[in-house]
């Protein structure tokens, strides 16, 4: 398991290749990557991502361990950045490796749903004429319902 919270950029290609190379017993590797999108007007200067350092690593590890417990996974990786990220930059990625594709897909979706609403990150959109905190979406909170037993 590999969980990293960092300000610097990561190389999706290198991270994905390394992850896949390590998982020789698995037939299925799923990755998800979140990328900063511009706003509708195209005026986004950057996305400011704030986090709660003392809590973030612990929270991401807890979510990853939960995924490793609930699905037949060989490995999981989570990288999440903070700081000022420009449109097109990668914010975060998760990767899962499993013998069967259903486990790899479900675990990746689970990780994403929990990251969205339970990991201590907050996003602020800073554009040329405005700065506003991204509001949590009801649909993201609702997505967690799927994983409640």
């Amino acid at each position: 398991m590999d969980v990293r919270v960092q300000e610097s950029a990561f190389d999706l290609g290198v991270e994905t290749s390394e992850f896949a190379a390590k998982t020789s017993a698995s037939g299925a590797v799923v990755t998800f990557t979140g990328i900063v999108r511009n706003n509708a007007a195209g005026t986004l200067e950057h996305m400011q991502i704030e986090h709660y350092p003392a809590m973030t690593q612990k929270a991401l590890e807890a979510i990853s361990n939960e995924a490793l417990t609930r699905w037949q996974l060989e490995d999981a990786k989570v990288i999440h950045r903070f700081g000022a990220l420009k449109p097109g930059e990668m914010i975060m990625m998760v990767a899962t490796a499993a013998p069967h594709r259903k486990d790899a897909f479900e675990a990746a979706e689970f990780l994403m749903d929990y990251l969205k609403s339970r990991a201590p990150f907050w996003k602020k959109e800073v554009s040329s004429d405005d700065a506003s905190w991204v509001a949590a979406k009801e649909e993201d909170e609702a997505a967690l319902g799927r994983w409640q037993e």
Partner: protein
Amino acid sequence: MDVLYFAWVRERIGLPREVVNTNARTVKELVSELVAREERYEAAFADISALRVALDQELSSFDAPLKGVREVAFFPPMTGG
């Protein structure tokens, strides 16, 4: 007790962290004490249903007891990913 604020809670209160001496037994009592202090706290805590709280870096509830807790953090719903 260390009290931390993040995102717009931090902006409204105007600082990221402070030490609070309190005898509050629950998170709600702590919030009441803070709100009684100054308008900027009232602005931040106007609607606690729009807020989340973590006790010693674990998500918790506003009814939770503060006994033994060293760090309380207030923030809006998270928007990670």
